[in-house]
Amino acid sequence: MSDMNQAMVEKYRSSFLKEVEANVEEGHWVKMCMQCGVCSGSCPLGPHWEHPPQEIFMMIRAGKREDVLSSSSMWMCTSCYNCIARCPRGLPITHIMHGLATYAKRLGLQPKNQPTAKFSQLFWNNLTKTGRVNELKLGLALYFMNGIGPGIKTALKMQDVGLGMLKTGRLNPLEILGGHSIKDKSGLQKMLKKAFEIEEAQIKDYKG
């Protein structure tokens, strides 16, 4: 258990709902859910979720902290926004799902080997390095996410697409050498660091 997770458990011992309200993006909306289940019924991936949104909200209110934060459910969200469009109470459900995922990740509770979680990390690392997404590297990193063997298999399967993109100039092979970056790379990284610090401080100082 991470130190921060420990600290949060201590801080919000009585109410996971309050913890969510304080630390999760749009978390203050969770109490407004009226359990109609329209979100769960509208989710195209709903049947594959361990706990559909309606249930996640109820679990938060029932204080099931571990179950919620270590769930793979919110990582399954594809941001189709069907639930937001349909929620009669106007809950920003997609945002809450992403907020919960981010929070779980920050506490180190996200399920191990959750592909979306893994890819998100790859994307983040790729992006923040140069300030621009290096598509060639991101693509390759994705192919080899699960090891060398499956990576080669996927790469071979995708070679026609890759060659086609090369031919039409949609993919620059020289990007493998590091690729282009934004002008002020270190400035961006400083900015991100500061933003992280501010967020951290907000969480620490929140008085729910």
Partner: protein
């Protein structure tokens, strides 16, 4: 009227002139209908056509007017002539609009029109102008029974119109349940906050109002008379009594919370910290907003259990939803949040109707009240507090929550008087010697609460119930009219409701009560025949004192004198004619609606012989739903059999079996009775009329057997106003059936 002069007016407009031979209709009216004057007009409802009729009334002495044009439901303003009897032949909706415009159909269409003209002439021949009974009295004075929010609203609303009010309250203070509230949810936007209880100000307004006389610690010991002239005896606890004369009565006797000691599994009566909503409200009010346990310590966790002993089919529970409890629990949960505690509402279905209800719910959520969908199985003691065991319906698991106080949202039990029909049924059962039923009803009578109004009516002391003790009224069309004319119930005694609804309800009831007073003063009926001046009378020489009319009247309007003769009360009567339908010796009639006015119509129809292949179907259609539906069938050009002859009746309850016998004897091949839905979810505008008619018709089989006729020839239907396609269909089905079983042998 000594010298009757019939004027028949045949319209050619709306295509009638193109489709039927109006000259022939005029000659039918003259020759067969004995009309002194018969005129055709190309546009009868325009100014010129109406003037033609008016001139004949003024100059020719026409005093019975037959309008052969559109349905009696159309153009009522144009065809309204004072001081003459009017009958209508429905040539538009009833003939040309339901028949195809083809050469083959022309003959039967004309026959249909001819018959309707004959029928209208026959009807008017037996009509008289209704005359006032002389019983009328104008008393601009109301009695309101019950000093809660409904009763006070009624008193204030009536007082505003200048009416005098006697407000009777059983206890020593006004305010009722609403007066016990700590706070209320607001009666105007924004609804997501709590508002102060304003009942106190209302009590002051009532006390200060010069038109309102408040009687505390008082009950009603006797109510006699009729709308416009009720005499009511009031008695105080100290024994003093007083008589008042009032025009109408509003009963706003409210409700009692369901007895939670019947819910021991939910801790009802077992722990002082398990309470119903009213007790919680009183506790918070007494503590000025602090939430305290019975031992005086502060309560931090309060759990609200919704639907406690209600919406449940378990014996002894209330099967219905009391409507207000979800909103009340949300309000009370906010008291807890305001006091710094935690509140959880465990609900099965949270019901907060209306836009305001939704905001109340949202307000509760915004305030941080936790809502859990679940079913509570038990409330038990746990250490110093309580534990609520429940099944979480979202997470599908059994779980529990600790609580300092548990509030049970129990339902509303109406404070109505005894249901008068239990006693009457008991009398019947005793007469029939049905021992089992007698036992059952006796037990019910013993359980019954004391009477509230002590009516001196043949049919018992109080307003009849529908279900679960709530007073009966026609929920769809005239929700305030109880089954005792001039007596209106308002508030939770009528149906479960919250204070806002009760205020609205009481305002509506007051309006109806005032209408009842004003109507009674000029002899006009209440809904649904509002404005009707006719009322039943009977020929005493013919009466056999069988008491069917006094027993069957759905409104308890008819009393009996010492010898068992009926005493009609014009102001109590709704003019449905159920008494007329009941009378085995046919001595009851209205001036303009009688055994004759209908009986002569059905006899006036031209009856083709057995070999003509032209059957005749008599349709007696309730004027409230079936007849409008038939009109609408015409408007939407649904076709039905040209052999049907439709006679509107006030209510199926007014159908006297002699009409059926007469119809069969005069050669009709089929008789169809169309009334409204009966039973607990009745739509019958006279509550019991349709039901009574169905019972009577179930006994018609004997008559048919005697006549050696097939039972299928007489059918009774429940129809609704929306059955626009179905009604033509059942008429056509009947025609087909007659084709199968053959024509009646009784044709001459």
């Amino acid at each position: 009227m000594a010298d009757m002069k019939i004027g028949a007016y045949i319209c050619q407009g709306c295509g009638i002139g193109d489709r039927v031979d109006t000259a022939q209709l005029a000659s039918v009216a003259k020759r067969e209908g004995k009309a002194a004057v018969a005129r055709e007009h190309e546009f009868l409802c325009n100014a010129e056509g109406v003037k033609m009729i008016q001139d004949d009334i003024a100059n020719e002495g026409v005093n019975h007017v037959v309008i052969a044009a559109c349905s009696r439901r159309a153009k009522t303003e144009a065809f309204s002539f004072d001081g003459v009897c009017i009958s209508r032949a429905n040539l538009r909706e009833g003939v040309i609009w339901v028949r195809p415009d083809t050469d083959e159909a022309r003959e039967t269409t004309q026959e249909m029109a001819d018959d309707y003209v004959r029928m209208a002439c026959a009807e008017t021949k037996y009509q008289k102008m209704p005359e006032a009974s002389g019983e009328q009295g104008l008393t601009r004075h109301l009695l309101v029974v019950g000093g809660g929010i409904s009763g006070m609203t009624a008193a204030l609303e009536a007082a505003k119109t200048g009416y005098k009010v006697d407000l009777v309250e059983k206890t020593g203070q006004l305010g009722g349940v609403a007066g016990e509230m700590y706070k209320k949810y607001p009666d105007k936007a924004p609804y997501n906050v709590l508002a102060d209880n304003t009942t106190g100000a209302m009590v002051e307004a009532v006390n200060a109002n010069g038109n309102i006389t408040v009687h505390l610690n008082t009950s009603v010991t006797k109510t006699d008379g009729a709308p416009g002239r009720f005499t009511v005896s009031l008695a105080t606890e100290s024994g003093a009594s007083k008589d008042v004369t009032v025009g109408a009565i509003i009963q706003a006797t409210g409700f009692t919370p369901y007895d939670m000691s019947k819910l021991p599994e939910l801790g009802g009566g077992k722990s002082p910290d398990v309470m119903d909503q009213l007790a919680f409200e009183k506790m918070v009010k007494a503590n000025g907003g602090a939430i305290k346990k019975a031992d005086g310590s502060e309560a931090k966790n309060v759990v609200f259990v919704q639907c406690a002993g209600q919406r449940s089919e378990q014996p002894g529970h209330l099967p219905y939803c009391s409507g207000h409890c979800c909103m009340t629990s949300i309000k009370q949960a906010r008291y807890v949040k305001e006091a710094g505690g935690d509140a959880t509402v465990i609900f099965d279905d949270l019901r907060t109707p209306g836009a305001d209800g939704e905001d109340v719910y949202r307000g509760g959520q915004e305030a941080g009240v936790t809502f859990s969908k679940g079913k509570v199985s038990a409330v038990e003691a746990a250490g110093k507090g309580l534990k609520v065991n429940y099944n979480d319906r979202i997470l599908a698991e059994d779980t529990s929550i600790d609580a300092d106080i548990v509030v049970l949202a129990t339902g509303m039990v109406p404070n109505s008087g005894p249901n008068p029909y239990v006693k009457l049924d008991l009398e019947m059962a005793e007469k029939d010697g049905n021992a089992e039923l007698v036992e059952k009803l006796k037990a019910e009578v013993e359980k019954a609460p004391p009477s509230i109004l002590n009516l001196m009516y043949r049919q018992g002391t109080d307003v009849p119930h529908l279900k679960h003790g709530f007073t009966d009224s026609h929920f769809i069309c005239f929700p305030y009219e109880t089954r005792r004319t001039g007596i209106y119930t308002a508030g939770p005694v009528r149906r479960p409701m919250d204070a806002h609804q009760a205020i609205e309800d009481a305002t509506g009831a007051t309006l109806k009560a005032i209408q009842a007073c004003e109507n009674a003063a000029i002899g006009r009926a209440a809904h649904p025949r509002s404005g009707d001046l006719s009322f039943p009378s009977f020929r005493k020489e013919g009466c056999t004192q069988c008491k069917r009319c006094t027993v069957e009247c759905p409104f308890g309007a008819i009393n009996e004198d010492d010898k068992g003769y009926p005493q009609y009360n014009e102001a109590r009567c709704r003019r449905c004619g159920t008494c007329m339908g009941a009378c085995p010796v046919r001595v009851i009639s209205f001036e303009n609606y009688s055994v004759e006015t209908v009986g002569q119509q059905l006899k006036a129809v031209d009856m083709p012989d057995e070999f003509s292949e032209k059957p005749r179907l008599l349709v007696l259609a309730c004027e409230n739903d079936a007849y409008p539906a038939l009109d609408m069938a015409g408007m939407t050009r649904q076709e039905y059999s040209a052999y049907a002859r439709i006679i509107p009746v006030r209510c199926l309850g007014s159908v006297n079996t002699i009409w059926i016998t007469d119809a069969l004897n005069s050669g009709y091949d089929g008789v169809m009775l169309m009334g409204c839905q009966k039973g607990d979810n009745y739509q019958c505008h006279f509550v019991k009329g349709s039901e009574i008619a169905h019972i009577r018709m179930s006994k018609i089989d004997d008559t048919l057997t005697q006549l050696n006729l097939e039972k299928e020839r007489v059918q009774t239907y429940e129809v609704s106003i929306a059955d626009i396609q179905r009604i033509p269909q059942i008429i056509n089905d009947m025609e087909k059936l007659i084709g199968e079983i053959g024509m009646s042998p009784f044709k001459f």
